[in-house]
């Protein structure tokens, strides 16, 4: 390589938590700064939002007019653009307003909502500009972001985690909380990547890594229905953290229609 990889980490509407996947990386963070030229990473004190980058990680959803403009500039300045985390991949919690009367919510919360710049919707990055890879998770972890940097440095396509969480449970010999306890575990519809944080401590997965490939939201919902859960609550189970991820949105819509 004749020059260092230029890496940027941008933030849009989000809690800042996904950027901690870099900041909490320990020695790997030091290594990242040696191997790459980090051109923008406000949370780490490096501020140059219009810097050109080979690789940009994007945290956050597009929720304001200013963000709508800024993400277009970032896209123009970036070769390989990677949304990270629930906000950037599906809008996360702030996208719940997409299903509601957003203006009314702002009026309820703020004494003078006219001073708040907001769009009626909070949308994932891919709904605004083209993206090259998405890292799912609320929040993403160090393994995910560093594996992406490492793959790209080696010139290999990063591996995508899209299988069901159940697979990782079984590999780790974790006893199924659905089958033994009837817990409302979203493992059969949720993508892996978290390392089985919740079933690993005996509680149900609530889907924070978003939909896996080829999910069957109808069958999973029917299972909850048989356990006595009303259709509206099944819909909310899907339309929670990843309400704007297509597979969860559509599964949630069908259950809402039944309620």
């Amino acid at each position: 390589m004749d020059r260092k990889l230029r890496v940027a980490v941008h933030k849009f509407s989000s809690c800042d938590g996904c950027q901690l996947a870099f900041l909490n990386a320990g020695e790997e963070l030091v290594e990242l700064f040696e191997l790459a030229n980090v051109v923008h990473f406000a949370e780490a004190g490096i501020v140059d939002p219009d810097a050109r980058a080979d690789l940009a990680f994007i945290e956050g959803s597009i929720s304001t007019h200013e963000e709508q403009e800024r993400i277009r500039r970032v896209r123009e300045n970036t070769r390989f653009l990677v949304p990270i985390g629930a906000c950037a991949t599906s809008g996360c919690l702030q996208a719940l307003r997409n299903q509601a009367d957003a203006a009314r919510w702002f009026a309820d919360v703020y004494s003078d909502p006219s001073k708040i710049d907001h769009l009626d919707t909070a949308t994932p990055i891919a709904a605004n500009v083209s993206v090259d890879l998405e890292l799912w998770g609320c929040p993403v972890n160090t393994r995910q972001v560093m594996a992406t940097v490492s793959s790209l440095l080696l010139g290999a396509p990063p591996r995508e985690d899209k299988e069901k969480l159940c697979m990782e449970c079984k590999r780790k010999n974790i006893v199924c909380v659905m089958v033994t306890q009837g817990q409302h575990c979203m493992g059969p519809v949720t993508r892996t990547g978290c390392g089985v944080l919740c079933p690993g401590i005996g509680r149900d997965c609530y889907g924070c890594y978003g939909p896996a490939e080829n999910i069957n939201g109808d069958a999973w919902g029917r299972w909850l229905e048989q356990k006595g859960m009303p259709a509206e609550r099944i819909a909310r189970r899907f339309r929670y953290i990843h309400s704007e991820a297509e597979a969860f949105r559509e599964a949630g819509r069908r259950w809402r229609e039944k309620s």
Binding site: E28, E31, L32, L35, M146, A147, V149, S150, S151, L153, L154, R159, K162, E163, K164, C166, M167, K170, R171, K172, N173, I174, V175, C176, M178, V179, T180, Q181, G182, C185, G187, P188, V189, G202, E213, N214, I215, N216, D218, A219, W220, R222, W223
Partner: protein
Amino acid sequence: MAEPSHYLPRSEFPRLLSVLASAGYRCVGPRVRDGAVVYEPISGVEDLPKGVHDRQVPGQYQLEQTAEPRFFAWANGPQALRPLTFAGRDKLWSAERKPDGSIDFKSDPPEAEPVAVIGARACDLAALYVYDRHFMQSAYPDPWYTARRQKLFLIAVHCTHPSLNCFCASTGDGPRASYGYDLALSELDDGFLIEARSEKGERILAALPVREASAEQIETADREIEDAGRRQVKGLPSRNLKDVLFARLDHPRWNEVAQRCLSCTNCTLVCPTCFCHSENDVASLDGSRSEHYREWDSCFTQRHSYIHGITIRPDTRTRYRQWLTHKVGSWHDQFGRSGCVGCGRCITWCPVGIDITEELAAICR
């Protein structure tokens, strides 16, 4: 084969564990963890699931504690021998780039320690026979499997408490263990009948304070095992189903089951004969070091049928059909028997309770 006429009183059962430990084995056996019987290291008989029964129906597994004295009065748990031989994740090799630019490869099959497994079921041993064929007796034996497998000392316990999802009698694999073990036990209320089937087994047996079993004890044990077979309510046709299934690839039932199936992979990952895996690399950030892992995979994933730009089985209908047509159909060509040993795990651990015996009955009718 020795006559199964030795009797070990229950009060002397701990001696079995101490004799195994003196012979250098780490004991792995059934114990209760997180609401299931799992096979993990045990340090004494107090770890065994005394008085525990399992209640299994499609999609549900529950344990019940009773005051009964028996340790093996349950059918099975989510896993038995599979993770002990074919681990969920194994590092196959690592590579390091040296200063002169050359690459140093290291591949270290595990230094397996001798492990004695107490409580293998007939279905588990039948499945191990398939694994042995696949992993050890092929043109390219698997060093990781082989290392662990060759250090196993297997103590079967004939099954007397089948679950509602068991059907080993119909596949011909149980409930009596008839091969593949070093020692076999029949559990009675007051003790165990014990027989050896290998030289290793004979050596352990010779160190135990056994006495000759009475005709009545033998008769009771035999009757309990036979009853266990008769009590099973599910069954598979015992014939080779390959031709029947391959003639029905367009049967409407494949569509119907796909409406219910989560394609969550649980059936394939608790199946003691499923051996699919994928491989992947974990590289250090600077690319100077890389580790290559093998981990459990399943024919229910998209990646499993992805070949150079094409996903051959894109939906649940084709994935479920692949699993079943292989498991009880083309498996015969590969291993000379069906891939189903009747343990019922795929029925119990399917969250939505899809029943392989019902699906096959509907498709092969």
